[in-house]
């Protein structure tokens, strides 16, 4: 069940910043997707596959709409989410881009239909602004979580 304004709290606590602009909120979309998908923490957001990767309308609404967040993660869950972000930061790929790569790869791999034979190849074809080595760097740091 989705808790309204949960996402605002999570983004603030995990990224340490407000998603104040379009690109910040785009990154926030991918962060929430990864928390649900990689850490298995269900925040109640359902995602569609859009050109820039996983996208949730309810999440877009919450990110724009909530001045104050609502606490919806336990301390252990927050620690795991921060660790995931810390690893993505360590990939050498700018965080916003790393989030888009990680979230898009996982959605292509597991959730779209028809399923692509090679999700990495598919990702590179669909997002020409992403380089091969950036995908490898992100998937390397993500592998302990998968």
């Amino acid at each position: 069940m989705r808790i309204k304004c949960c996402a605002t709290y999570v983004v603030r606590e995990v990224l340490g910043e407000e998603p104040n602009d379009f690109s910040g909120r785009l990154a926030a979309q991918k962060l929430i997707y990864l928390i649900q998908k990689v850490l298995g923490i269900n925040l109640g957001y359902s995602f569609m596959w859009f050109s820039r990767g996983p996208y949730s309308k309810a999440l877009a609404k919450d990110l724009r709409g909530c001045e104050e967040g609502v606490k919806c993660l336990g301390d252990d869950e927050l620690r795991k989410a921060r660790e995931l972000i810390s690893r993505l930061r360590g990939s050498g790929v700018p965080l916003t881009k790393a989030l888009e790569i990680a979230a898009s790869y996982l959605m292509l791999r597991d959730e779209v239909f028809p399923k692509p034979e090679d999700p990495v190849k598919e990702l590179l074809e669909r997002k020409p602004f992403i380089k091969d080595e950036e995908v490898n760097a992100v998937l390397d740091v993500l592998s302990p979580f998968l």
């Binding site: 989705r2 359902s46 996208y55 877009a60 609404k61 724009r64 779209v112 598919e122």
Partner: protein, 423 residues
């Protein structure tokens, strides 16, 4: 795989003659799809606009028709695969097949109680309903691929956006259809211009050339007017709350639940789908059950009273309303917190969870991430960042806060509000 042959035509009040090929007719003729003839498109809106009794059936045909026109144009321009036209039209035809009776009113019960949305019920129908899935397979269409478009998870992102984004085929049809049936004149959009100029940007987002920006503006403005006049109208929203409460009590009262089964929880709905029994779950079923409860004096007095209020059109009244535009929604604003505190403090209203309802909505006027793009310099810009349009000056959110009360508590709820507003 079957070969498609003759076309037949259905006359539609919005689009004129809509052609149906053999596969489309086979799907339309299933009991599961025919159910949509018995689900009103606008749930409770007919209690305010008497003409708003059109159904999900005609809307679904309209969405398929628009998808055929728009996807056909995009395929001619080489932006999507011609081979996928039939798939896209079928997805459009079936996009609402999972709607609950009374559309969003009863869906809200399942969303709040179980997190279940009509798109998920729709995907169960497409992949598990014996009538629908067998017809699809007979004509060489993979049910999971149709379901993927409806749930926004097709591998081709632009297919998902054609079905679900700010200017998708669903909205284009319902704005036209709902404006026609309610008579709300400012809900009309320039569909011819939209169909003629719609395209995709290099990333696959729905886009328009700069010369068509007025049609895009008119669409967003019409949508805003329809939000205020129809979709979030205070009386209509009040009756949605009432029917939702009635359904909740029917599903949770043992004596009644047995009549309502299997349509009381997700497992029951899914079982009804796989057994080919979903067609029984329509507006008539719920209406008939309400009549039976009154006629046979079933359930408790409180439920019967709610049903009488509904049938007599004496439901929730708005005792307080705030509507605002801006960047922030009122979701957790001081106003809402203050109202919540005032309600829980007041001894008379403390236990009135049913008689008094606080309604808070935050409605994006432009949905960030799903908005229309305007083509510019080999790429595109989001419509609200396009300086040549009044949309860049439009507020991004509309917020609504209301306090509803049943007639029994109206007097002292008004007193409470008067006191609250003094402070």
């Amino acid at each position: 795989m079957k070969v498609l042959c003759t076309m037949k035509y259905v006359f539609d009040e919005v689009h004129g003659y809509i052609p149906l090929d053999e596969l489309e007719r086979r799907l339309v003729d299933t009991p599961t799809f025919q159910r949509l003839r018995r689900i009103k498109q606008l749930a409770q809106a007919w209690l305010v606009y008497p003409g708003a009794v059109h159904t999900r059936f005609s809307h679904s045909l309209g969405v398929m028709h628009l998808m055929g026109k728009i996807a056909g144009k995009l395929a001619d321009a080489g932006l999507i695969r011609k081979d996928d036209l039939r798939l896209l039209k079928i997805a459009a035809l079936l996009h609402d097949v999972g709607h609950t009776p009374y559309s969003h009113a009863i869906e809200s019960y399942f969303k709040v109680r179980y997190g279940l949305k009509h798109e998920v019920i729709g995907s169960w129908i497409i992949t598990e309903d014996p009538y629908i899935k067998d017809v699809l397979r007979e004509y060489g269409i993979e049910p999971f691929e149709v379901s993927a478009i409806i749930r926004g998870r097709h591998r081709e992102a632009s297919y998902n956006m054609l079905m679900s984004s700010d200017m998708d085929v669903d909205r284009l049809d319902y704005l036209l259809r709902d404006a026609l049936h309610t008579g709300v004149k400012y809900g009309v959009i320039d569909i011819e211009r939209i169909v003629q100029t719609i395209t995709l940007d290099p990333e696959g987002y729905i886009a328009f050339p700069q010369k068509a920006v007025q049609a895009v503006e008119a669409f967003y403005i019409a949508r805003l007017h329809m939000y205020r006049s129809v979709y979030y109208h205070k009386t209509i929203a009040g009756y949605q709350l009432l029917i939702q409460e009635i359904y909740r009590q029917m599903a949770e009262t043992k004596e009644i639940r047995d009549f309502l089964k299997p349509f009381t929880d997700p497992e029951g709905i899914r079982k009804a789908i796989s057994e080919g029994n979903l067609y029984l779950w329509d507006d008539f079923f719920i209406g008939g059950l309400m009549n039976l409860i009154l006629g046979q004096k079933l359930g408790d007095e409180a439920l019967r009273e709610l049903i009488k209020l509904y049938l007599g059109r004496r439901g929730y009244r708005t005792v307080f309303e705030w509507v605002g535009f801006g960047k922030q929604s009122p979701l957790n604003s001081k106003l809402v917190k203050g109202l919540e505190e005032a309600l829980s403090r007041d001894l008379r209203l403390k236990d009135e969870r049913i008689a008094v309802k606080l309604y808070v909505e935050s409605i994006p006027i432009i949905t960030e991430g799903a908005e229309v793009r305007i083509l510019k310099g080999g790429g595109s810009v989001r419509v609200n960042d396009y300086g040549g349009s009044i949309i860049s000056s439009m507020p991004e959110e509309m917020g609504i806060v209301r306090l509803y009360s049943l007639p029994v508590t109206e007097g002292y709820t008004r007193e409470l509000i008067a006191e609250f507003l003094k402070h």
